[in-house]
Amino acid sequence: MNIFVLNCGSSSLKYKLYAMENEQVLAEGRVERIGQENAIITHQSQGKEKVSKTMPILEHTVAIRECLNLLTDPQQGVIKNVSEIDAVGHRVVHGGESFSDSVLIDDRTKEILDSLAELAPLHNPANVMGIRAAEKIMPKTPQVAVFDTAFHSTMPSHAYLYAIPYTIYQRHKVRRYGFHGTSHKYVSQRAAELMGRDIADLKIISCHLGNGASIAAIAGGKSVDTSMGFTPLEGLMMGTRSGDIDPGAIFYIMRKEGLTLHEIDSMLNKHSGLFGIAGVSDMRDIEKGIEEDDKLCKLAFDIYEYRIRKYIGSYIAAMNGVDAIVFTAGIGENTPALRSQLVANLPYLGISINEENNRKRGEDIEISTPDSKVKVFVIPTDEELVIARDTADIVS
């Protein structure tokens, strides 16, 4: 069974074609600058040279058609005909309260997705645009939506509700939804496999630390709490997002600086986090700054680490214990110093780090020593594979 996985943004898309018999990636690529005369397509089929071309691509339908042309190209391609694609799996950021699992897309699904646009205005409309474009080109191929929020739908109400008037939840569905669910699901399942244990018996804390960052408490394979909330602004410190902040401070800042709603929103989402403290948002630049004795880079690093540590502590309390901690995504996978500092600051957990393993990159690896009471893993995330698996399950 061949599954085509699509992740559509407003002006870009990423795709992968999987052969599900052995979960092999047959081809992958991306299209950038959709809507412009000089859009760029980059494509690589397994065992073949990477190709890249620039051309006018004014809408998503054209972009997807070009991807399919490359997949079926006699030289570059890996399939002879589009009909060899058995289903399309779409990443959809927000499923609201309507979708607690991946779903086969029909007209009703699209109607609900349209109504969810205001919960994720930057992402959902683009995701839905990708669904409609793919349907137009492949009307007979089943389409499946896989939601970033779905994995967290198992959170209990005491974890997802905010302590504000209950009518606000009833009227507007304001509650914690959580994001990066596909990633948290993948790395927690993979950690259980690496431990050789049934995930139903495990308490896992997974740390997805990319430019956006979230942390999840996963008990028995189910998300019971997560740091991102109604929007991806809550929780950990991020590249340019503040994470948790006293709402009272927001009102005070707005009054003192004379800021509009748009300006404070932009400040918290785009000018805060690592960038707000140190002036750079990339963790590699932060580490370079620390090497050069930049005090604000060190401060940003320490705040970043401290906030992860606080969440780990609170999720241990939420689950009454922890068996494994997993790090994934750009910063989680590639910042050994952050993992070392975190663990060194949690001596009561009885973890020892195998520094040699901690410095390895690009593979699933346990970085704790065999005698550690809590296991620590670095597991590169693979959200597309989860989308492909869910899609295959649904259409089988």
Binding site: G35, L58, E257, G258, L259, T260, H262, E263, I264, S266, M267, K270, H271
Partner: protein
């Protein structure tokens, strides 16, 4: 037609505001001006973006992206490459008609024309051009990047296509286009100049000074700017121009306060001259009463 490239004719506050708002939403903008002040229009848009950056409203890369989408020219031949034409020149009938006729020649026939005029009738302007069915009124309200509403006016011959194009464009800019009947003078300018004029009378009669009038009106009506700062930001010459246009149609209701005439005569035009009813700094920020006194 898919609109990507927008022409804005007129590089005053309104034209610059429309250009900045359109570029911020991804349109390529060609800003036209034949006046002497047009050349620094892009740098004034950059200053406006810098103010937003200082308030964390945009990022440095967003600023560069927006500026990269705006070009300035005095050459009307460039109009042959645009998908939408917006005129935002000062409301002088003969100048406006001449520019519209020129644009009508250069733009492709399918291009919709938008007039942002505050006081001129769309039907009167439409008579000057061949594509009279393609002209629609869409009055943006300064500061254009912040006000979420615009006034849409259909002329006698305006087609549904032109109206839909204007509505779609306004929506992309994050504005609701509220349709009103055609008249000399739109809702916002008509009500605004009356308020400004009355505030000017209050000051002129010595009831209170400019700062007191501004504070009372601004706070009591929950406004972001009071009428006197609004007048200064529009330009007192523009306010006077609007009032005179409206006075021609509606009579004494729009007779300008003598203080307004005196300020315009003295070249005290508002933010652009640093002094109008109130005083302003080099970067267009409103000065307090004490700071204003020092500037004097």
């Amino acid at each position: 037609m898919d609109i990507r490239r927008v022409a804005v004719l007129g590089a005053g506050r309104l034209g610059r505001g429309i250009a900045e708002a359109a570029a911020s939403k991804g349109y390529d903008v060609v800003l036209f001006s034949q006046g002497a002040g047009g050349k620094d229009a892009v740098s004034r848009i950059e200053k406006s973006l810098d103010r937003k950056l200082a308030k964390w409203g945009i990022t440095e890369s967003e600023k560069r992206l927006v500026l990269g989408r705006i070009s300035y020219t005095q050459d009307l031949k460039e109009l042959s490459k645009v998908d939408l034409f917006i005129e935002a020149t000062l409301d002088h009938m003969h100048i406006k008609k001449e520019l519209l006729r020129a644009a009508d020649q250069y733009c492709r026939p399918e291009v919709v024309f938008i007039s942002a005029s505050a006081t001129m009738r769309v039907s009167d302007l439409a008579r000057e051009i061949n594509r009279s069915d393609m002209l629609v009124g869409l009055h943006f309200i300064p500061p254009v990047t912040q006000v979420a509403v615009a006034e849409l006016v259909r002329g006698e011959k305006t087609s549904d296509l032109a109206v839909e194009t204007a509505k779609t464009f306004a929506a992309r800019l994050g504005k609701e286009a509220v349709e009103i009947e055609e008249s000399r003078g739109l809702v916002n300018p008509r009500a605004l100049v009356v308020m400004i004029n009355e505030a000017a009378y209050i000051v002129d009669e010595g009831v209170c000074d400019e700062y007191a009038a501004e504070r009372i009106l601004k706070e009591s009506w929950g406004m972001k700017q009071g009428p006197l700062e609004m007048a200064d930001r529009l330009g007192l010459d523009l306010v006077l121009n609007w009032m005179e246009q409206l006075q021609d149609t509606f009579g004494h209701r729009y007779a300008p306060c003598p203080l307004l005439r005196r300020y315009v005569r003295e070249g005290r035009l508002g933010v652009k001259t640093r002094l109008g009813f109130l005083a302003y700094s080099e970067d267009d920020a409103l000065l307090t009463e004490d700071e204003g006194d020092k500037e004097d």
